[in-house]
């Protein structure tokens, strides 16, 4: 089973996730939402892969398939060499612990009737990581300090914390399982700007200290640029461009990536005046009825007649820079 491909920790191959649309009393399947359609990616140990896209592009679904919250329709997810899609549940459980999740919404992700200490300590209890009450308590305190919270606050309930503190509790909960891989699902977007930086720095510190690997699902391109080693751009269930951060931000090839980057305002009026802006026409098409061929062609200013014929494959344009566009 063991596949050693120079410390790749997670590999996703041809992942597909279709959600059925049911109709009528008998719940016949009338069609599918192709939330994730044939995507592949690799993440090396200790790296951060930024997964960027607009709402409805399937980025969250990818994260949830990796976490095995959703059952993929098709494809492989290899974590530390093992295909976790096919693994039976009880074996999976031990492995699943190693993949954790940090949520977007610091309000909905904490059980309002559980104290902060009990939230953080729950996984330790489930997996019997600590053998007695003393070490359990010590471990919870350790986790609190690790994420920058006062262990004294362990007896408080979520509503007594601010958004940033809640997010820290969520991070401590994820860390309590000793994970090696963390899916961060928009962990900053619900926070105020002044708090965002605290959490960004915290996640970066933790990555260094604990050697974590992140899948950073986000829509804020400046934040992704700040923390990612590699960046994958998703559009309508497909990965349309994937490369290291420098290539994506300095030499974006796919027209969609270019439009996305130009849409992000820079907090500097002088820079802004000189920037060229690409304003896209229309809206993102529905994933129930995606356009034929390249998913982006109806909004693309470089579209050619051939674009609507076939779904373009990801091609390597330069080393480690893959683009799904026939016009590049």
């Amino acid at each position: 089973m063991e596949q050693s491909s120079n410390n790749t920790i997670l590999e996703v191959k041809n992942l597909k996730k279709y959600f059925p649309i049911t109709k009528g009393f008998l719940r016949r399947t009338a069609g599918h939402v192709k939330a994730v359609d044939n995507i592949s990616l690799k993440i090396k140990k200790g790296e951060t892969l930024g997964l960027v896209g607009e709402s409805g592009c399937g980025k969250t679904t990818v994260g949830r398939c990796i976490l095995r919250v959703y059952d993929p329709t098709d494809g492989e997810i290899r974590f530390q060499g093992q295909d976790i899609v096919k693994l039976p549940y009880n074996k999976n459980r031990a492995l699943r612990r190693k993949i954790q999740l940090i949520f977007q919404d610091p309000y909905g992700s904490l059980d309002p009737r559980q104290s902060a200490g009990s939230i953080v300590g729950e996984a330790i209890k489930i997996h019997k990581i600590c053998d007695n009450k003393q070490t359990h308590k010590k471990r919870v305190e350790e986790l609190f300090t690790l994420v920058g919270l006062d262990p004294e606050m362990a007896s408080r309930f979520p509503h007594e914390f601010s958004g940033g503190q809640r997010q820290r509790i969520g991070i401590a909960r994820a860390l309590s399982c000793d994970p090696v891989f963390i899916v961060c699902d928009e962990p900053f977007s619900a926070l105020d700007v002044s708090i965002q930086a605290q959490i960004i720095n915290l996640l970066q510190d933790l990555q260094q200290k604990l050697g974590l690997t992140y899948l950073m699902i986000a829509h804020d391109l400046s934040v992704v640029r700040h923390i990612s080693d590699n960046v994958a751009i998703m559009y309508l269930g497909h990965i349309v461009e994937i490369a290291d951060w420098r290539e994506i931000y300095e030499r974006p090839l796919m027209p969609y990536t270019q439009a996305l980057l130009s849409a992000v305002p820079i907090p500097d009026p002088i820079v802004e005046k000189k920037r060229e802006r690409i304003i896209l026409e229309g809206d993102v098409p529905s994933p129930i009825n995606p356009p034929s061929g390249c998913p982006f062609h109806p909004r693309c200013w470089k579209a050619a007649p051939d674009c609507s014929k076939e779904i373009p494959e990801l091609r390597e344009i330069s080393p480690n820079h893959l683009v799904a566009c026939i016009r590049v």
Partner: protein, 298 residues
């Protein structure tokens, strides 16, 4: 870490941390109607527990020489058509009332909520089956349903419990199922899954505690309604067999003497009204105290 110090800044010098329980007590007992309701309930339970000590006579002792007597020093509330002491009968009747309330709500609550939990959590065909069955039960008027079950099972106190329990069950099942369905969508439930919690743990340490507040309110209200329902059955003569003193049966037998001694019906009637009202008041208080967002949800 100095950052942590700073994070606690706004709490310095501010009003002290109020625990959830203190807040609960403050809202709950902030109104005198709730206090009144609680008092009535506590009093009734006390009377029920110590009925043998409090009642001046045996409630079932027939004394044909003292039939339908008005209140006197010997019989504080007078006697009924068989010469039984009315006060003693009302006191003993509280035992049936309280026990009916508790047992019926327990049966209905435990079965209803368990089925609701299963239906809501697992869904699928099993959930559909449970919910369709509950719909079928709910489609009958509750009194007709209770009558049918009681007649089917025959008389006796245990049968009444079961009949009322089944009649009260569907609402619990529905409410629970609905609550679970909405709570299930919360991120913290997914978080529990991700950290490796099993079904049992997810259900009982995350779903049930969060689903409980509205159910708790319903339990309080139903304690009252169960008493009322039992009284209706007894009034119709299908409930608990005579000569056991129950408030409903007492109203029924007293109605023939409404003109000669109205107290025979009025006293147990007032007892029922007071107790049901008390449960309603406390239920309302609980609803407000448990969660302000719950207002108007039931």
């Amino acid at each position: 870490m100095s950052e942590a110090d700073l994070e606690t800044w706004p709490e310095q010098g501010q009003n002290k941390r109020v625990s959830e329980f203190q807040r609960f007590l403050r809202v709950m007992f902030g109104r005198w109607l709730v206090i009144f309701g609680t008092f009535v309930i506590v009093l009734t339970v006390f009377v029920a527990l110590f009925a043998p000590q409090l009642a001046p006579y045996n409630p079932n002792k027939v004394n044909l020489r003292e039939m339908i007597e008005p209140p006197s020093a010997k019989h504080l509330l007078g006697t009924d058509e068989m010469g039984r002491d009315l006060l003693s009968r009302v006191i003993y009747g509280s035992r049936i009332a309280v026990s009916v309330g508790i047992v019926v709500v327990c049966i209905a609550g435990v079965i209803g909520m368990s089925l609701g939990l299963i239906a809501g959590y697992f869904g699928g065909w099993i959930g559909t089956m449970i919910m369709r069955f509950m719909d079928a039960l709910m489609s009958l008027p509750p009194l007709v349903l209770m009558l049918a079950i009681a007649v089917m099972l025959g008389g006796g106190i245990a049968k009444v419990y079961v009949a009322l329990g089944i009649a009260f069950m569907p609402t619990y099942c529905r409410l629970m199922c609905g609550e679970i369905l909405s709570i299930k969508e919360n991120d913290y439930v997914m978080a529990a899954n991700v950290i490796g919690a099993g079904h049992i743990r997810v259900m009982f340490s995350h779903l049930v505690p969060n689903a409980f507040p509205p159910l708790f309110v319903m339990i309080t209200l139903d304690l009252g309604f169960a008493i009322l329902a039992e009284a209706s059955l007894s009034f119709l003569g299908i409930g608990i067999n005579p000569p056991t003193a129950t408030w409903g049966a007492m109203i029924n037998s007293g109605q023939q003497y409404l003109l000669t001694n109205p107290l025979l019906s009025i006293v147990p009637g007032v007892a029922i009204v007071l107790l049901v009202l008390a449960f309603n008041l406390v239920g309302d208080g609980l609803r407000d105290a448990l969660d302000p967002r719950l207002r108007g949800k039931i």
